[in-house]
């Protein structure tokens, strides 16, 4: 099948976007941005200097008060504008995402939709940001009200797996509520946001309201330490999320830090096999397993185990792996050769611990493409809860089949994990589903839904080591994270 055309073969040296202008970084350090499927360098990303980050923060601070004074309806009209522009460039955004991240074009289109949904929710800010009031609330003739006010400059530090969607979990809410913003894209996938900032530039936000700074860990550290930043949003692995949480707290900042996961799918005897398997394959192998909501451990009860195993093996082995711009491809590469190496180490370790591969993706090659980052789907069986593969986050296209006696044992395994991002049950039993919903210690629960990804108007949950902070991304939580409540008691003599 012919490839869908790339937007560009080479995106050149990327720039920062500060104060409404594209600026070249003064840094002499530059990193290659690589297409994981082809291995080609498709851009160069500067590692911005401390001065550049400080400058971006200063600009965002200076822009803040007049943006804060901009009436909410005017801010919301900007959101409508950027939404329209994003829709016009929807396909280009998706294709660039494929080029730098490796996911398939359908996955990238889905990601773009989810990104834009956050702007759509932010267009409701005139209502969402309303406070509440009570006449004579503090006594006769003394009124009391609570209002929501923006705070200043916020920033986000982003992962590689969703180049557009994850920054959009944060900036539309921050900006629509009257804050200014700095985005630091992942060093591995900075091109999508570079393209999107061209669109933000077209939308005509006042200079300094939204800024882009490219770089690596040093930039992230500066954002976390700088007194000019009121809060940080982060998505990444649990060790780094913990570090971000601690560092931000030490520096007096608000923080929401989404970490890693080890998500279980519990399949009971009465699950509908066809729907279950289709759902499960998408949830586990979508984006080559590189999602914090991806299914990882499949816990199946005795009455369904064999049928599930057989159907899963049959359907998974038909997945076509390749370059995501080929529409016939079901799964793309993982993000890099080093990611592939780490995933293979996990598989090797599982086999040493006694697991057996019923589908082994380690040796996969894709015709016409270098093998560097391609990995086929892998299914392991004879896995027990104590094994490393069952406990640690692999972040790749690998699933482990575990036998469990019943719902009770399934819940025990799920709740024994240090992680608590997502958990799914497949069943036709209302009582079992309710029990699962009630007791599973995970922030995103699926009932016959393999990937329980909250829509933009709901918070993106997470318990235990999957989330650090009090307020999650998206929805009402986002509104609360980016504003402070002020109570006002008024009397007129």
């Amino acid at each position: 099948m012919a490839l869908i055309p790339e937007v560009a073969k080479d995106y050149g040296l990327l720039k920062n976007y500060i104060n409404g202008e594209w600026v070249n970084s003064n840094s002499d350090k530059v990193e290659n941005v690589v297409n994981p499927a082809t291995g080609a360098t498709i851009a160069k990303m500067p590692l911005s200097t401390r001065d550049e980050v400080d400058h971006a923060i200063k600009i965002a601070q200076e822009a803040w008060w007049s943006w804060r004074e901009t009436p909410p309806i005017t801010r919301v009209r900007m959101m409508f504008k950027i939404k329209g522009i994003l829709e016009e460039h929807y396909e280009e955004i998706a294709r660039i995402t494929v080029q730098e991240n490796g996911k398939t074009i359908d996955e990238a289109r889905g990601e773009t939709r989810r990104a834009i949904e956050n702007v759509e929710v932010a267009t409701g800010m005139t209502t969402l940001q309303m406070g509440y009031a009570l006449e004579d609330g503090a006594g006769f003739g003394i009124d009391e009200e609570a209002i929501r006010q923006p705070l200043g400059v916020f920033a986000c530090i982003n992962p590689f797996n969703f180049p557009s969607m994850i920054p959009f979990w944060f900036w539309p809410y921050a900006v629509a509520t009257g804050n200014t913003y700095i985005i630091k894209p992942s060093r591995q996938v900075p091109i999508t946001m570079q393209y999107i900032f061209n669109l933000i530039d077209q939308a005509g936000f006042p200079p300094g309201v939204i800024n882009l700074v490219n770089g690596s860990r040093e930039v992230a550290d500066i954002l976390m330490e700088h007194t000019g930043i009121k809060g940080i949003s982060f998505v990444g692995s649990t060790p780094v999320a913990k570090h971000v949480y601690r560092k931000c707290a030490e520096n007096g900042k608000r923080v929401q830090a989404q970490g890693g996961a080890k998500n279980c799918h519990l399949v009971l005897d009465d699950a509908t096999i066809d729907g279950t398997v289709a759902n499960m394959i998408s949830a586990c192998f979508g984006c080559a397993g590189q999602r914090c909501l991806a299914g990882s451990n499949i816990l199946a009860t005795p009455g369904i185990y064999d049928r599930l195993r057989e159907r899963l093996l049959d359907r998974t082995s038909r997945l076509k792996v390749g370059y995501g711009l080929d529409e016939s491809v079901n799964m793309g590469p993982v993000i890099s050769p080093s990611a592939k190496k780490k995933i293979i180490e996990y598989i090797d370790g599982a086999l040493r611990e006694g697991a057996k591969p019923i589908l082994d993706g380690r040796g996969l090659t894709v015709n016409g493409y270098p093998a560097d980052s391609f990995l086929g789907p892998t299914i392991l069986e004879q896995v027990t809860p104590g094994m490393t593969i069952a406990r640690e986050e692999v972040f790749g296209p690998v699933i482990a089949l575990l036998k469990v006696k019943d719902l009770e044992e399934g819940l025990e395994i799920i709740n024994s994990s240090n992680f608590g991002n997502a958990a799914t049950i497949y069943t036709q039993s209302g009582p079992a589903a309710r029990e699962f919903k009630y007791r599973a210690q995970a922030g995103n629960i699926g009932i016959n839904v393999g990937l329980p990804a909250p829509m933009a108007y709901f918070p993106f949950g997470g318990y235990k080591d999957s989330f650090f902070g009090d307020l999650h991304a998206q929805g009402q939580d986002a509104l609360n994270f980016f504003t402070e409540r002020k109570v006002v008691i008024t009397r007129w003599f």
């Binding site: 359908d106 289709a278 394959i281 192998f285 979508g286």
Partner: protein
């Protein structure tokens, strides 16, 4: 074959129909609308990306030679497209019910276009 590539094939069919419907404004306009619906559906109605490969689809079966644009060819095109949409609806019903419904609607429209072309209306 994936759901995405099935939708792309549908879009190609509509674009082909637009190309040789210029002289029949009403039909051309109808196909333009359908193309827009398909694009919107691809962007907005797929809340879950389903990986499961689709088997049993042969694109060649639904392509009509359009070297000469006669009303017979045109009618055949509409009838064949109706067949594509009906078959595709069956293939995607469990993974994307909203898309299956759209395909069924489009199939019915194709059938009525074929009827109109047959009666010269």
């Amino acid at each position: 074959m994936t759901l995405g590539s099935l939708m792309s094939f549908a879009i190609v069919l509509e674009k082909t129909a637009i190309e040789f419907s210029e002289s029949l404004d009403k039909l051309g306009e109808a196909h333009r609308k359908r193309w827009r619906f398909l694009e919107e559906a691809r962007r907005e109605k797929l809340n879950e990306v389903t990986l499961e490969p689709i088997s049993g689809f042969e694109a060649g079966k639904y392509l009509v030679k359009t070297d000469s644009i006669t009303s017979t060819v045109r009618r055949e095109f509409e009838t064949t497209s109706a067949g594509f949409y009906r078959d595709a609806a069956g293939l995607v019903r469990s993974m994307a019910p909203e898309i299956a419904r759209l395909f069924e609607r489009l199939a019915k429209e194709n059938e009525s276009f074929a009827l109109e072309l047959g009666t010269g209306q």
